[in-house]
Amino acid sequence: MSVPRWWPTPGAWLWVVLFLGIQFAPRRAGLLSDGDPCWHWLQGNWMLEHRAVLRADFLSHTRPGAPLVCKDWGSDVLWAVAGNLGGWSGILLLAAALIATTLGLFCWQLRSDGIAPVVAVGATLLALGACAAHWLARPHLWTQLLIVPVAWTMREFNRDRLTARQAAWRLALVLAVWANLHGGFLMGLVVIALYAAGDAVERPRRLGPAAGLFVVGWVATLLNPNGWRLHAHVLEFLRQPALTLSTDEWRAPDLSSVAMRGFVVWLVAALGTLAVVWRRLRPSELVVVMGWVGLALLAARHVPLCALVVTPVLAAHFAGPKRAAAGGSRGGNAVLVAGAVAGAVGALVGGWRTELPARDWPVQAADFVRANGERLRGAMFNEYAWGGYLAQELPGRRVFVDGRNDFYGLPLLREYETVARALPGWEKVLAQYQVGWTILPPASPLNQALARAGWECAYADPVATIYRRKP
C-alpha cells in the first residue's frame, strides 16, 4: 500500500500524538510534581522584570543576597514567559513541546538513517519509555532535546558522513545554546568525549580531529553570562557526592521501582539487540554504548540520555539492509504540527487549565498564611520539596530552602536535615535562623517534636500542618 505524497512523516505523527497526549492527559499535572518549576518561573520573572541575569539570591532567608550562578537562565526566562502567558497550562505546553520535539527529532534521525518506519517508531517508543521516568516540566528537558543533535552529529562524524569542520560548526552552535539553557550541557561534552575515546580504540589517527571537536564544544559552552565560572560551579557540584546524592535523580536507578519499568524494558531490548548485532558493532560504537549504559546505571537522571544516545547506534545495525528514507511531506508535517499547536492554544484560550493539584501541594495552607499573616511572625521553616511553591505563592515571605541544592550547599542542607528529622540540635538551628513558624506534611517527625516543645498548631489539613512559636 503506497502512502500519499502529502502524508506527514512518522516523526511528525509522533510529535503530534505526544504533544497533544501530554497536554490533555488526565495525569498531566504529574509533570509539575516537584517544586522546581515554581522557582524556575520565579527566577525567570525576576530576570524579565530587571532585564538582567540573576546573580544573587532573592528567594531564601537563609542565604539572602548570596552570589548565585544562574546555570539555567535562558530556560528560566522561557519558563517565565510561558507561565506569564498561560499559567501552569503554558508551562505544560512548553514542556510538552520539548518532549514531543525531542522524540520527533529522534524518530526523524532514525528515518534519515534509512531505518524502516516500523523499526524507527518501535525504537522511538522504547526510548520514550526510558525517558518518561524523568518527564518533569523543568529545564533539563532542554538537555534531553539537545543531546539528540549532538549525538547525531558525532555519529555522522564517526561514520565519515560529516567532515570535522562541518561537525565543529554544528556542535559549536548547539552547545553554545545548550550552555545558556541548562547545566546539563556537560553531557554534550561527554558524548563527544566518548566518541573520541572510541576513535582512540578503533583508529587512533582520528583521535586528533575528535579531540579538536571536544575543544570546539568546550569553547562554545563558554559563551554564557557566567563564562568559565558556570563550568567551575557545575563541576564543584558534581564533586560533592553528599550533595548530589541527596536528590533521587542523582542516585543509581532502582530497577525494581515502577518509574524504571520503561528503562528495564529498554535495557532488555538493548541487550537483546546487542546480543544479535554486536559483532557488527564497531569498537567505537561499543565504547559509546558501554559508556552510556554505565552512566545510566550510575545516576537515574542519565537514563533518558542513555536511551537517546544508544538507541540509534543499535537500531542502525538492527534494521538490516538500508533503504532510502521515505520522503514524507514537509508541507504535510507543517500542517499537522500547526494544527496540533493551534488546537492546544485554542483549548488554552477556551479555558482548558492545568493547576497544581491541591492534594499534593499546601494550597489551602498557603491561603491561610496569606489571610493570617500577622499571626505568623518570624522566618519560615518549610518542607524541601515545597520551597519553590511557597516562594511563588507567598511572595512577601522567604523560604528556608528550595530545590536549588547546588546553591544552598552541603552545610545548610545538613542543618535542614537536622531540623526536618528532629535530630539533636534542631532547636538551635531554628533559633539561629529566627524561625517563627513551620509548614510541613502532617507525618513529619518535626511536627510532633514541636507540639511537645510547646509550639502551637496554627493550621492543619491532610496535606500540611503549620506550627508557630507561642507568642
Binding site: 543509581a252 550510575l298 528532629a422 517534636a449 511537645r452
Partner: protein, 487 residues
C-alpha cells in the same frame, strides 16, 4: 617440577588466602556484625538443636508469638548454631570464611578443569572475590554461593544427573535454592536456541528430578509457596537493602563494576562468538543482578567461567604464555591442606562489634532486669542480636521480614518512623520499653515525653521505659520505683 606433598598447590593457597583473609582481618567483624541475621540464625539453629526438632511456630517475638512458621534454611541454621555453640562467634566466623574460601576454590578448580591457565584462573577468581565480597556475611546464603558453583560446573560439564542430589542438600540449607532451577532453565533455553532437542529434553528431565528432590524438606511444597509468596510482596522485601538495585556509588559495588568493565573490554577486544547458552546466562543473571543486589554474586559465579573460556582462547601472546608458565610452576604443590588446618589455630578470638550492636545496653538489662517491664520495641537491625543476647525476652521485630509479613511490617514502619498512629501500635502490642539507636526518630520524639524517661543510655543505644499509672507524671528515672509501679 617435582610435586611436593607439603607445599600448597595454587588452589590450596587461594583457599587459604580467602579463608584467612576474612577470618583474620577486620572483615571477620563485618561477617558477623554487618546485620543482625548471623545472631538470628544462630539462635534459631540453637533452638532446633536444643529441642531436636524443626522450628514450626514462632518463639522469639512477642508480636507474632506462636504463629506458624516455615524454617526455610533449617540445616544452614543448625550448622551455624553448631559452630557457634562450639566456638562462639569465632566458630561462626570460621564456618563463614570456610564457605567463602571453598566457593572461590571450587571456582578456581572449575576454571582449571576447563583448561584456563593458572594465571588467568587466579586473576579471574580475584575479580570474582571482589565482586562477591559485598555479600560476605556469615549467613546461610553462603551455601547458595557454594552450590551455585557446583551447579554451574556440573551443567557446563554435561554431568547434570548429579544435580537432584545436590538439590536435596540446597533446599535444606538455604531458601534461594530456586537459583538452581533458574540455572537449569538457562541451559535448557540455550539448548533450544541451538536446536539441540536431545540435550534440552535431558535437562528438562533433570529439572523435573530437581523439582521432585526439592520437595525433600521438612515443609514440602509449602516451602516453595512461601518463597514465591515472599518474592511477590515487594513491601516486605523493601526492608532488606539486598533486594534493591545495586548502588554503583557504593564502595561495595567496585568489584561488580570491575567485572562489568572486564566483560565490556572482552566484548570490545576479544569479540568472542558467544554460545546461545552464554548469552542467555549473561542476560538473565545480568538482569537479575541489576534488579537485586543479592544476585550480583550469582551473576559473578556464572559469568566468570564464560569470561575465562573466551579470554583463554584469546590470550595467546608469547609474553602471556611465559607469565602463565611461571605461575604454573608455583602450582607445583600437591596439597598443603595440613597447612590449612594449622591455620585454624591462627584465627583470633572474635566478638560482635559493640559499636554496632547494643552490647553494653544488653549487659545493663541482664544486670537489672527489673529496670523495664512490658514488651520491647526494638530497632529492626538489632532484632537478631537481641533475641540471641536476651533469650529471656521477646523482640518486637527481627530480620525475618518474610515471616512477619506486609501488614505487620507496615505497623512496625509507622512506629519506627514516628509517623502519626505510632502510639496506637505501641498500645496494641503493649510496648513497655524501647531499645533504639541514639539518633532514631522515635527516640527524639520520646525525649519530649516525660512518661518515657531514659533508663539507660550510651553512645550506641538508649533504653526508655514507660512509666505507668500514678507515676506517669513523674520524671523519676529510678528503675526500682518503675518496677514497683509495673508490679
Amino acid at each position: 617440577m617435582r610435586r611436593r606433598w607439603w607445599l600448597p598447590s595454587l588452589g590450596a593457597a587461594l583457599w587459604l588466602a580467602f579463608f584467612l583473609g576474612p577470618a583474620m582481618s577486620e572483615w571477620r567483624l563485618v561477617l558477623i556484625s554487618a546485620d543482625g541475621d548471623p545472631a538470628l540464625h544462630w539462635r534459631i539453629g540453637h533452638w532446633m538443636i536444643e529441642h531436636r526438632q524443626i522450628l514450626r511456630t514462632e518463639q522469639f517475638s512477642h508480636t507474632r508469638l506462636g504463629a506458624p512458621l516455615i524454617s526455610k534454611e533449617w540445616l544452614g541454621e543448625v550448622l551455624y548454631a553448631a559452630a557457634g555453640n562450639a566456638l562462639g562467634w569465632q566458630g561462626i566466623v570460621i564456618l563463614g570464611s570456610a564457605l567463602i574460601a571453598t566457593t572461590l576454590w571450587l571456582l578456581y578448580r572449575l576454571l582449571r578443569a576447563e583448561g584456563a591457565a593458572a594465571l588467568l584462573a587466579t586473576g579471574l577468581v580475584l575479580v570474582a572475590a571482589l565482586a562477591c565480597s559485598h555479600h560476605w556475611l556469615a549467613r546461610p546464603h553462603l551455601f547458595t554461593h557454594l552450590l551455585t558453583v557446583v551447579f554451574v560446573w556440573q551443567l557446563r560439564a554435561g554431568k547434570a544427573w548429579w544435580l537432584p542430589l545436590w538439590m536435596v542438600l540446597w533446599v535444606n540449607l538455604h531458601g534461594a535454592f530456586l537459583t538452581g532451577f533458574v540455572l537449569i532453565g538457562c541451559f535448557i533455553a540455550g539448548s533450544v536456541l541451538r536446536r539441540d532437542w536431545r540435550k534440552a529434553g535431558l535437562l528438562a528431565g533433570v529439572l523435573a528430578a530437581c523439582g521432585a528432590a526439592s520437595l525433600l524438606n521438612p515443609n514440602g511444597w509449602r516451602l516453595h509457596l512461601h518463597i514465591l509468596e515472599f518474592l511477590r510482596t515487594p513491601v516486605v522485601a523493601q526492608f532488606a537493602n539486598e533486594f534493591g538495585s545495586p548502588d554503583f556509588h557504593a564502595g561495595g559495588m567496585r568489584g561488580f563494576t570491575l567485572l562489568l568493565l572486564l566483560l565490556g573490554v572482552t566484548l570490545l577486544w576479544v569479540r568472542p562468538r558467544w554460545k546461545p547458552v552464554e548469552v542467555v546466562l549473561l542476560a538473565v543473571w545480568g538482569y537479575l543482578a541489576l534488579r537485586q543486589v543479592r544476585n550480583v554474586p550469582i551473576f559473578t559465579l556464572v559469568a566468570v567461567p564464560i569470561l575465562a573460556e573466551h579470554l583463554g582462547a584469546w590470550l595467546t601472546a608469547p609474553r602471556y604464555r611465559q607469565w602463565s608458565a611461571n605461575v604454573e610452576r608455583l602450582d607445583a604443590g600437591a596439597g598443603g591442606w595440613i597447612v590449612a588446618l594449622a591455620a585454624l589455630a591462627l584465627i583470633p578470638q572474635t566478638d560482635i562489634l559493640p559499636s554496632r550492636f547494643p552490647v553494653a545496653a544488653v549487659k545493663f538489662l541482664r544486670a537489672q532486669p527489673a529496670a523495664v517491664c512490658g514488651e520491647m520495641f526494638n530497632d529492626y537491625g538489632w532484632g537478631g542480636y537481641l533475641l540471641l543476647a536476651l533469650p529471656e525476652r521477646r523482640v518486637f521485630v527481627d530480620g525475618r521480614n518474610d515471616f512477619y509479613g506486609g501488614p505487620f511490617m507496615e505497623e512496625f514502619n509507622r512506629c519506627d518512623r514516628a509517623q502519626p498512629g505510632w502510639e496506637a501500635v505501641c498500645e496494641k502490642y503493649r510496648v513497655g520499653w524501647t531499645i533504639l539507636p541514639v539518633q532514631h526518630p522515635l527516640n527524639q520524639l520520646l525525649a519530649l515525653r516525660p512518661e518515657w524517661p531514659v533508663v539507660y543510655a550510651d553512645a550506641v543505644a538508649v533504653i526508655r521505659a514507660r512509666a505507668t499509672g500514678s507515676r506517669r507524671d513523674q520524671s523519676d528515672t529510678s528503675a526500682v520505683s518503675r518496677r514497683a509501679s509495673c508490679d
